[in-house]
Amino acid sequence: MSDKTATVIPASDTERPRLAAPEKMPVTQIALLAFVAAALVVLPFVVTGYVLYIANLLLVFIVLCLGLHLVIGETGQFALAHAAFYGIGIYSSGLAGNAFGWPFPLSMLLAGVVAGAVGVVIGTVALRMRDIYLALATFAFGEAMQWVFLNWDQVTGGPNGLRISPARLGDLEILTDRQAYPVVVFVTLLMIALTIVISRSRVGRSFRAVRESDVAAMAMGIPVRRAKITAFGLSAFYAGVAGSMFATFSTYIHPDSLGFQTTILALTMVVVGGLGSITGAVGGAIVFGLISEFLRQTPSYQEIIYGLILIVFMMYAPRGLFAFIRDQMGRITRG
């Protein structure tokens, strides 16, 4: 066994799906981060308020995608209720501001904690199921929550929607997208940092262990159920924070935008970016968010192109945009 000449069987990439293990930062990731950082700083000085609104929205989706990444990408649990937690976040922070005049950092925390707590409760029940059953149970929960948003008139305004009063901190009031932008950027960066820390820590490793083999995880002393619930609760927390970020620059929310479509949009971003990597989640949110925005004027074309992108990606770039680019670059450099 001390024989080190034993050879490794050539890697066969075709055998099983491959998920990235975020252990080291590759160069592409660092380059991308540098580019994003520069763009974030320059943006407010060169663009209109409307573009900043879109930027804010993209950042919200990045946080939503990071949450989805934790539960689906890292832990391998197909939970499809993120629009519900997002909605819970919007309403809790909106109400904290509207009714009690809370400063926005506090209502953000509240939004995350409320969504996370609901997530833990739902996760405790739903995570006994696997695969398709988990997906369907969480889907049903999401739909039921949308119904609640639509019918709980006293709290959500029901079908009339809810006006959200401007976010405030002491005398400071956030009235425009330009004012909200630094706050949204800051929170996004905070959430990305948190995700990286979690992912590289023992917590992230236990999530990936559960994804790879729950029996082996158990043998390694990982309480599998608790790990799954933690991941689900965390991801609901992210969705809640994303909701409260939305509330800082939005003045109005209607339950229509809190349905399955929103969950699917986030899922699509994560998968198109590349399931299992943080770069994939962030990059997918940006790329796919921009595509949706460019196609916004023509809803029917938007849907067709959107659908075609999904289909083509699944056919020819199944591990996501960034893995695809890496593979192609590798092919070129190898000749």
Partner: protein
């Protein structure tokens, strides 16, 4: 400190109407290598899975160092110093060799926030590197586990189990599928682990070459009941054991 690190008392496992294990007893002495053998379908793996808490016995008790662990969840065993491997390899396939072993090592890392969120808790990485060295896996540190060849995958499972710093190491057919040269190396490694580090080992095994070479004691199971127990020589010469194995070969012929 009980004389026996592991005791299984009157273990019975029924699946529906089928009795897989019937009133089975075994006591594993501290610091020894104990083998559990028997023909196919004898109930070895079932017993093994009850000890590692993956199956719940119908009746009977499992005692670890005199403490009843029959109601413990499987995930609590690692913390009590019980590590196991799997018959059909259960690696974290998409993770690197290093990460696989790191996951095992986390059981003993601290519980404070800083330690939980640290990427490389102090002490843990050194321990992992040491284990990789010991199992000749250092060269494959950053290889994704599923890309290793079978022999190295088996070693990785062992390294991962050792990362728990076990008192009791449960090995489910560690030699199955290995080449003779690899079995010889495994033989040396296991003996070393037991003699030098005092790790108690219970193994389920088909490969008699390994069992007879390293075991201090052998228990033979057939149709869910113990039919023989003793030193490798005792067991080798026990007519009932020969009959059990012969009977199986006749049935297969």
């Amino acid at each position: 400190m009980a004389e026996h690190l592991l005791e299984v008392v009157d273990l019975t496992v029924k699946f529906g109407g089928l009795t897989a294990v019937n009133k089975f007893n075994i006591a594993v002495k501290r610091g020894t290598i104990h083998a559990l053998i028997g023909p196919n379908g004898a109930g070895k793996s079932t017993t093994f899975n009850c000890i590692s808490r993956f199956y719940q016995p119908t009746t009977g008790r499992v005692l670890l160092d005199g403490v009843d662990v029959t109601r413990m969840p499987a995930s609590a065993m690692a913390g009590l110093g019980v590590a196991r491997t799997f018959q059909n390899l259960e690696l974290f396939g998409e993770l690197t060799v290093f990460e696989n072993v790191m996951i095992g090592a986390h059981v003993h890392a601290g519980r404070s926030w800083v330690e939980v969120l640290s990427a490389r808790p102090p002490g843990v990485v050194e321990h992992v590197e040491h284990l990789l060295e010991r199992t000749s896996l250092t060269a494959y540190r950053n290889t994704v586990a599923r890309n290793l060849d079978f022999g190295h995958q088996k070693l990785l499972e062992l390294a991962r189990a050792l990362a728990i710093r076990p008192r009791l190491l449960l090995l489910d057919e560690p030699a199955a599928g290995l080449r003779n040269r690899e079995i010889a190396a495994l033989d040396a490694l296991l003996t070393d682990l037991c003699r030098r580090e005092g790790i108690t080992i219970l193994l389920v095994e088909h490969v008699m070459q390994l069992v007879m070479a390293i075991s201090d004691r052998v228990t033979v199971l057939n149709f869910g009941t113990k039919i023989s127990e003793g030193t490798p020589d005792d067991v080798r010469n026990d007519p009932s054991v020969i009959e059990a194995y012969l009977g199986q070969e006749m049935a297969h012929a």
